[in-house]
């Protein structure tokens, strides 16, 4: 699909029904964000399981899905992560065709900047690891960075830009439209999407979960799938399990609209900001998580201050841009900065969580793999390494370095 940065998307038609919950489903997915909706779609489309409900306490795609900076890339370090995110990227590349709906996926590339010799070494290592895994990646020097993104200031800053990893197939998509695309197709295939329906408890028979208590009454379920990002710990506790997750506020912001000036995505781990320009023209910026845990969906102001200082150093032409809006999401960070997806100690209860700051880019692959796990009771090859058991076996997947957000 050709990309016109000035094109505004048409407003979507009414996309799904708002049914009353039935008394029983084969699968109840808790959480109507990108992961929950994609999981419902793949359950129906790939496994023929359509007696499925997605229950969402707010509105579809209104949680972290509505709060992210929409960056999509697959240049992670370890084999397990790059397999997951590269599978996702390939699905992103076919998503509009598969779902029959625009998601404004724009493969404008991502630069991950290196500001120190150590950054350069780590970046070169990651590029080589990416290439071994079939992920497109190259290391650019400062001239190469300026060629890809001429507005980056490489020299006149405290930590000069020495180079960058570059993944040309990376990009952004329009997050609302991604949620709507999955919701629309899932609903067409028979999935009930139930909004304003908060899960308040789990119904168990011995060690087996057999349903959920909700604000719209009890719903029986053959299998229950958690897909609730930052709310995983409190919900898992209701189900009687513990997950090694810490929830942190992560902030982002957008500027007023500008003419297209920023052709790619630029991320800097070192001085810590990441910037892209949305389809309509806003500069979309994110920073690191707050150091403390929290659920307040707001963060500390000094984080924004530091992020803006970094942005203005890197992009001097942004100095007079006005901030239009800031917001916070709650990210669920595991101890190795990799997600958890699979079975739990409770029979027929499954968990998909811990994506930290990177859940959006994984949406299609996470949905595909989670649907497989829910349909078969066994992990897909993509999520097998991301089991809850890895914290006992020690087979951790330490992605703190490639997760790109300091946490």
């Amino acid at each position: 699909m050709s990309f016109d940065p000035r094109a505004l998307p048409e407003h979507p038609d009414f996309l799904w029904a708002n049914p009353e919950p039935k008394s029983s489903y084969d699968v109840v997915i808790v959480g109507g964000g990108g992961h929950g909706l994609a999981t419902a779609y793949y359950l129906a489309a790939r496994h023929g399981i359509t007696n499925v409900a997605v229950v969402e306490r707010g509105w579809l795609g209104g949680g972290n899905m509505a709060r992210n900076t929409t960056i999509i890339r697959s240049n992670y370090l370890w084999d397990e992560s790059s397999a997951m995110y590269e599978a996702a990227l390939k699905l992103w590349e076919g998503m509009e065709e598969e779902l029959g709906y625009d998601v404004f996926f724009s493969q404008r590339g991502v630069l991950n900047l290196a500001h120190s010799l150590q950054d350069v070494r780590e970046s070169v290592r990651r590029v080589e690891a990416n290439r071994l895994n079939g992920v497109d990646a190259e290391f650019l020097d400062a001239d190469g960075v300026r060629e890809v993104c001429p507005i980056v200031n490489t020299d006149n800053l405290r930590y000069p830009v020495l180079g960058a990893t570059y993944q040309p197939r990376a990009g952004i998509a329009k997050h609302d439209w991604v949620a709507w695309a999955y919701a629309r197709r899932a609903a067409e295939l028979g999935v009930d999407l139930i909004q304003d329906c908060e899960v308040t408890g789990f119904v168990k028979d011995g060690n087996r979960v057999v349903g959920v208590e909700t604000t719209q009454g009890r719903i029986n379920a053959g299998r229950v799938a958690l897909c609730v990002a930052g709310s995983t710990s409190p919900l898992a506790e209701l189900a009687g399990i513990e997950v090694p997750i810490q929830s942190h506020p992560l902030q982002a912001l957008v500027s007023e609209l500008f003419e297209p000036v920023h052709p790619t995505v630029v991320m800097s781990n070192h001085i810590h900001v990441y910037v892209s320009q949305a389809h309509k023209g806003e500069l979309v910026m994110g920073a690191g998580v707050d150091q403390y845990t929290g659920y307040g969906q707001r963060g500390s102001f000094h984080v924004i201050e530091e992020q803006m200082a970094a942005a203005v150093e890197l992009f001097p032409i942004f100095a007079r841009a006005h901030v239009l809006r800031t917001w916070g999401g709650i990210v669920d960070v595991t101890m190795d900065a990799s997600p958890i997806m699979g079975t739990t100690p409770v029979d027929d209860l499954f968990v998909n969580a811990g994506w930290g700051t990177g859940g959006f880019k994984a949406v299609p692959a996470a949905g595909l793999a989670y649907a497989h796990t829910l349909a078969t009771g066994e992990p897909h090859e993509l999520n097998a390494p991301f089991s809850l058991e890895r914290f006992e076996t020690g087979a951790l997947i330490d992605e703190h370095g490639a997760a790109a957000v300091a946490h």
Binding site: S231, S233, P234, E242, P244, I245, Q246, S247, Q291, Y292, T293, G294, Y295, G296, S300, F301, H302, M335, F391, E392, T393, G394
Partner: protein, 116 residues
């Protein structure tokens, strides 16, 4: 932004401090007796409540001393500040996690069974 009251220096902005995660997590008394699952619990499982949370902070840009704070993770309201090594106020006693203790070794169980 949080304003934290260092017990030694008084109220300061959050930027002067570093967060030290959950407080009162005791190192196992007999580490070699723990199973893998128990080790995982000690190493990786930390409370992550939506509500009051006992946590450690260090005044890294000030006196560089550690202390404990009870903070509500939803509202950021701080209801207690107390020295490192001290127990939380009585109303927050439930925030101290149970120590990870090894399962009773099989041999002991057998002896107890014999005695019984």
């Amino acid at each position: 932004m949080l304003i934290l009251t260092c017990p030694h220096c008084g109220p300061r902005h959050e930027q002067e401090f570093h967060y030290g995660r959950q407080a009162h997590v005791a190192y196992p008394d007999d580490p070699s007796a723990l199973s893998d699952a128990q080790w995982a619990r000690y190493l990786f499982h930390r409370a992550n409540p939506r509500g009051p949370h006992a946590e450690r902070w260090v005044h890294s840009a000030g006196c560089r001393k550690w202390f404990n704070v009870v903070r509500d993770t939803l509202t950021n309201e701080i209801s207690a500040v107390y020295p490192a090594g001290a127990q939380p106020p009585a109303e927050h006693a439930d925030l101290v996690p149970a120590p990870v203790v090894p399962d009773v070794p099989a041999s002991t169980t057998t002896e107890q069974t014999k005695e019984a």
